[in-house]
């Protein structure tokens, strides 16, 4: 009897190991810098998305120094499930930098919505979103947008399920109805390629659990032990809102160093309580704060809330390393990225266009949402031997704006000069709305290491 039990146990263990081995393929890697994803194994292939430094990805199918990149939880061992291709030399086995950048917007649709292969009603129908189903959206195109599984972590057009009309989406807020799981029939359709002629290939990841949706509910009986939630030390000014939405009423601002208790994470927002709050009941919260501001894992550009003081006195900011103070009240030594100078410096791009007497090359054109507005970003390499002044930069960018501007879109031109790392901060940042120039700014510090400084 005992022997039989042992045999069954060993068989089960072997089966489990076999299952795990079968489900895992390739290996986990981390980019050591912001990394572009391409449609094919070439730097000239079209851009489909990007990875932030330290983003966890699965790679496989190494060929000619290029690998197929997958969601880390991907189980389909097939190139058709890849979300893009990248040069393997920038994907390290260990994480050397970690600069998470949030992307997309979680939304829901109040009605059934078709997923199409093109941003048009003429696009092939690939599936359907159920009413109240939550999805992530990004890469807006006119009145259409690409939709992603809510658990998608990699921002790539090849990771999208397809296109949906953007006008039927509502942002997820506290009042949003409970999310609905995607129906099986949609999942079955997702595995097929999407819109191959336009460069947007479908195939989605194995659905990942979404920790932020309705999984934390208010318990019927509140705890009164004080041993709940998480006590954090605020490392930046954080605005509390009345509800889980950036447009809801402002309550108060948490100051740097203030200690509070957070809990009830839902839709990317924490309920914030007094540190000494004993009762775990959501209606006793002081207000709500964005998770990315509390956990410090999101770039401020992607955050549409958490304003600081409502004054315009911004002209004399002082650089301070205090902003790197850790959360949770535990001191940490500043982590300095050691990877930036280890690799060879990339050669300057070759210009292929000419305007205003400047030779330039458009390195990248992307579209994303920021503060609820759609932004077209042009990354441009300007081949010049003389440092362009702010007016020259303005004129040059205005010409590009005239060429690329579109209705209801803002446009930002990022200018890089010879000798600069085109994956790092840009020298010139010029922003326009659809009608006029909004602001012009140059970062002279970025000229460090170039012939201009």
């Amino acid at each position: 009897m005992r022997m039989n039990f042992k045999i069954i146990f060993l068989t089960l263990i072997l089966f489990l190991m076999g299952t795990v081995a079968a489900s895992a393929f390739g290996e986990i890697r981390y980019p050591d810098r912001p990394l572009n994803l391409r449609k094919a194994r070439s730097a000239k292939a079209s851009w489909v998305g990007s990875l932030y430094p330290g983003q966890k990805v699965r790679i496989a199918f190494l060929k000619d120094g290029w690998v197929a990149v997958f969601e880390p939880g991907e189980t389909r061992n097939s190139e058709s499930a890849a979300v893009g291709y990248s040069n393997v030399k920038y994907l390290k086995k260990k994480r050397t930098r970690h600069e998470p950048k949030s992307w997309g917007e979680t939304v829901y649709t109040a009605r059934k919505l078709n997923i199409r292969s093109k941003p048009s009603i003429r696009g092939r129908k690939l599936g359907q979103l159920a009413a109240m189903e939550r999805v992530k959206i990004d890469f807006p195109e006119d009145d259409w947008t690409m939709v992603f599984s809510p658990g998608a972590t990699i921002r790539s057009q090849m990771n999208a399920r397809g296109y949906c009309s953007a006008k039927y989406f509502e942002p997820v807020s506290q009042e949003s109805p409970a999310p609905k799981a995607a129906p099986e029939k949609v999942k079955a359709v997702e595995a097929k390629p999407v819109n191959s002629e336009s460069g947007h290939v479908g195939g989605t990841v194995a659905p990942l659990p979404e920790p932020t949706t309705a999984s934390t509910v208010v318990p019927d009986k509140p705890k009164a032990t004080g041993d709940w939630g998480r006590v954090v030390t605020i490392d930046r000014k954080v605005n509390l809102r009345k509800k889980r939405t950036s447009s809801s009423r402002y309550v108060r601002t948490l100051k740097i160093g203030e200690r509070v208790r957070v809990d009830f994470l839902k839709s990317g927002w924490y309920a914030v309580f007094r540190e000494d709050e004993l009762i775990r009941k959501e209606n006793r919260a002081l207000g709500y704060a964005l998770r990315s501001l509390i956990d410090g894992d999101g770039g401020s550009e992607a955050i549409a809330a958490a304003a600081v003081k409502k004054t315009a006195k911004t002209s004399k900011p002082v650089l301070s390393t205090k902003s790197k103070a850790p959360v949770g009240g535990v001191k940490k030594t500043m982590v300095i990225d050691r990877s930036r100078f280890t690799g060879e410096k990339r050669p300057d791009p070759t210009p292929n266009k000419n305007v205003h007497g400047y030779q330039y090359r458009l390195l990248e054109k992307s579209e994303t949402k920021r503060f609820g507005e759609t932004w077209i970003t042009l990354k441009v390499f300007l081949a010049t031997k003389q440092l362009p002044g702010i007016d020259a930069v303005k004129d040059f960018a205005s010409t590009l704006w005239k060429e690329h501007r579109r209705a209801n879109r803002n446009l930002a031109v990022m200018i890089y000069l010879p000798g600069m790392d085109t994956e790092d901060l840009a020298y010139g940042v010029i922003q326009f709305n659809e009608n006029r120039l909004l602001e012009t700014w140059v970062r002279k510090a970025t000229l460090f290491g170039t012939d201009f400084l």
Partner: protein, 169 residues
Amino acid sequence: MKMLKIGTFCLLAVLFGALTAAAQTSKVGFVNPQRIINESKIGRIAQEDLARLGREKDRRVSEALQEVEVIKQELSKGLLSVSEEQAREKALRLAAREYEQLVEQSNLDIQGEERRLIQFVMRRADSILRRIAEEMGFTMILTDPEIMGYVAPSVDITDRVIRELNGMM
């Protein structure tokens, strides 16, 4: 008795050797990032960049405020018809909202930019830090001045990093 003395002596010798070796392998250096930002040329340029961004944001905020004020003045004159007044009130609400959003976004932009510039400067300092660490035999370099009770001047390499950063320009 003699054996005991010899044994004790040997033990002490081993202990001393071990302590010396341990001291040699755990040499710790210190650099103050705040001073690098404040005192290096690149750090000062970054601060000027940030101040310039602040002025640009101020200009936009002032323009938005001006727009609000203009509508307010139009309304306060009391010369508008009812329909015109309603339209201007709507425009005022819109302009005030845009103004508030702009202030909010501007502050967020500046905070984000501050972080990015600090990281940019510290990444440039890093190549120097690494070289100095190898040269002086440091196994680690601490960077947080707030956790330091005391730092001997011999292990504080901030001045040297600043000097070498300046020399690279």
